[in-house]
């Protein structure tokens, strides 16, 4: 029985990994500039532009435009899905998302400070992602410190504090938009989220943080299973609940902040992918976390592929499509399987 479950788990993850690989390859073949899939694959596997069979610019498009973009969207999809799964377990609340503690509003405020006021910590052109990242972490720290009562952080207090602090930052963002002048559109597009400026530098910054965070969260799968049974039960079963909460919050903040800083605020992925996977593979985090991770990556890669091709040449904000596609599918699953999931 146990061996069969393990086998099933391995098969699911193997299948999903293959699907992710195929997704990456095929989405790189798609774009406004029509490049034959075979050419794309040759370029991906190291063919140089010295060969005469295609224009040299194809190498730039595949290697410097599409590849980093596809990889970053995959990373962000994975990051938000894993963060969402962990938050839903921690709060034992189906409405929890990576953004629930106000992290997105904090990041948005940091970004808008950099965009409008030119307030930056470095002279680097990366000031927008950096400010977003820093303010995301500042927000979560503020929320955690404010919510702390006698060394404990009751989840309800944490949630309410997150909503309050998030609203405060949202108001500040609105104010920044008001004084933004012609930079307004930059803020608006940042808020809607998107991958059109993805490059290898952003990948190099975000990938280590996100991968580290995802792996670390996965190591706590059993603990997340325990906490689902309630804090008291988890404590009785030997879990240091307060420490555990803190660790998960730090890790979730880290991956979410890294994700938000490279692509702005992309909603729904972190809320809906964990639900969908819970319906499909069940609530055990040992399978739920890795499968959410891979499916989140696959989902966001395809959504971004749509975003950059659907009404060529204009790019749609990714957040619009995540909602348009994700929500109906999610509602369908919810109606169909709601008795089984138990939320």
């Amino acid at each position: 029985m146990y061996a069969r479950r393990r086998l099933r788990r391995s098969l699911i993850l193997l299948g999903l990994s293959v699907a992710l690989f195929l997704t990456i390859i095929s989405s790189i073949c798609i774009g406004p500039v029509k490049i034959a899939p075979l050419t794309v694959i040759k370029i991906l596997f190291g063919a140089t532009h010295s060969s005469e069979s295609w224009p040299s610019i194809y190498n730039v498009i595949v290697v410097d435009v599409r590849l980093p973009r596809v990889l970053i969207s995959g990373l962000v999809g994975a990051a938000l899905s894993v963060a969402g799964t962990a938050m839903q377990a921690l709060f034992r609340n189906p409405m929890a998302s990576p953004y629930i503690l106000g992290i997105s509003s904090g990041a948005a405020f940091g970004a808008s400070l950099a965009i409008v006021a030119g307030i930056t910590l470095t002279a680097s052109i990366y000031s927008i992602p950096l400010m977003a990242f820093i303010f995301a972490l500042v927000t979560i720290f503020l929320v955690y410190e404010i919510a702390k009562v006698n060394g404990r952080t009751p989840l309800e207090t944490l949630l309410l504090t997150g909503i309050a602090v998030g609203s405060l930052f949202s108001a500040l963002v609105s104010f920044m938009q008001y004084v933004a002048g012609e930079k307004l559109s930059t803020i608006v597009f940042w808020l809607m989220g998107g991958f059109w400026t993805s490059d290898w530098d952003k990948f190099a910054v975000a990938a280590p943080l996100i991968l580290f965070g995802i792996i670390a969260i996965s190591l706590f799968s059993r603990h997340l299973n325990l906490i689902l049974m309630g804090e008291e039960t988890a404590t009785n079963l030997g879990l240091e609940v307060e420490t555990f909460k803190k660790i998960i919050l730090v890790l979730v903040s880290l991956v979410t902040a890294a994700a938000v800083s490279v692509c702005g605020i992309i909603g729904f992925v972190g809320l809906i992918i964990p639900h969908i996977m819970r319906i499909v593979v069940g609530p055990d985090h040992r399978i739920l976390l890795p499968s959410s991770c891979i499916v989140g990556a696959i989902f966001l890669i395809w959504v971004d592929t749509l975003a950059r091709t659907i009404i060529e040449p204009t790019e749609l904000p990714v957040g619009v499509i995540t909602a348009l596609l994700g929500v109906p599918f999610f509602l369908y699953l919810l109606r169909k399987r709601k008795r089984i999931t138990g939320w």
Binding site: D64, T186, P313
Partner: protein, 313 residues
């Protein structure tokens, strides 16, 4: 042409842009020598992500060098041929020819691979999309960022663009025609007393949102002999309160063409008491006439006619 002479061309571009930037309000971002692609001897393929630059490029007669444009460059043409009539420079082709150019999407999130695939020698872009501009520069394409804030910046911009595309004489001609037409208006309004200048409320796309100090439209309103009711606000694009506008009682209301309709403004609750509505002086201005391009003289002349029909009838 060998590699070093290609570098010389780039050095010239850099110097030209830096010189242009001394004109004020005009920023130079980054000019990179591309690592891939063919060597370039001159600027023959241009992508413009700034509608103002697109227009200037046509005005100086270099429209044939444009290979890609952003969405708002196309949107200006959709307003119709007549909105380009009588403009300084060679703008007749613009509204028809622009549809032959590759549209690379919105300036704030353009399609990078389309831009790359057009092999541009240079990209013109607004300064404020820093992320996008850096990305294009990283892909080996020189980016010139522009930031015209007032009419004299526009002259500098026309001069620089003209120099870059090898049309300096044409650029000078555009500028002198603009100066002539601006002077003609300045001459007539300069003698007006304060009380002869109408109070003007200008509305943007959002109801009650207007232009404050440091904006183009504000400058045009005052050059046309009007007084902007929001000229002394602290924000560049303030949102006014309804009662403030009623209390100010503007003599003229101008709304941008993509904003509210003239009828809608006239029928706003309580606005029947505003002089502009009572005297039927509510107008819609073509949005392409109030930007950083040669067509700003059309906007100025239109304003002058509305503000002072007795002088410019």
């Amino acid at each position: 042409m060998n590699k070093s002479s290609a570098k010389i061309v780039y050095a010239v571009v850099i110097v030209a842009v830096i010189l242009g930037s001394f004109g004020g309000g005009y920023l130079f971002a980054k000019v990179l020598t591309p690592e891939t692609g063919q060597e370039r001897t001159s600027i023959d393929r241009i992508v413009s992500l700034s509608a103002a630059c697109t227009e200037i490029i046509y005005a100086v007669g270099a429209g044939d060098k444009l290979v890609g444009v952003d969405q708002s460059s196309v949107d200006y043409a959709l307003a119709g041929n007549e909105t380009f009539k009588g403009a300084p420079g060679q703008l007749e082709d613009y509204p028809v020819d622009i549809f032959n150019k590759t549209n690379v999407g919105k300036a704030s999130n353009p399609n990078m691979e389309l831009i790359v695939s057009l092999h541009p020698d240079i990209v013109f872009a607004w300064w404020y999309n820093t992320d996008v501009n850096k990305r294009i520069g990283d892909l080996g394409i020189p980016v010139v960022t522009v930031n015209p804030q007032n009419v004299s910046d526009v002259f500098n911009l026309i001069k620089t663009v003209g120099a870059l595309v090898g049309k300096s004489a044409e650029a000078e001609a555009v500028i002198s025609e603009m100066e002539m037409r601006i002077d003609a208006i300045a001459e007539k309004v300069s003698n007006l007393m304060e009380e002869e200048r109408p109070l003007v409320y200008y509305e943007l796309g959002t109801a009650l949102k207007t232009v404050g100090p440091g904006t183009f439209t504000n400058e045009l309103i005052s050059m046309a002999g009007g007084i902007n009711i929001a000229a002394n606000e602290s924000v560049r694009y303030p949102l006014l309160s309804n009662e403030y506008i009623m209390e100010k009682n503007p003599d003229v209301i101008v709304v941008v063409s993509y904003g509210a309709s003239v009828d809608e403004i006239k029928n706003r609750e309580g606005w029947q008491n505003i002089d502009a509505v009572k005297n039927d002086r509510v107008y819609a201005i073509e949005s392409g006439w109030v930007t950083a391009s040669p067509r700003l003289v059309l906007g100025l002349e239109q304003f002058a006619q509305w503000f002072h029909p007795e002088l410019f009838g």
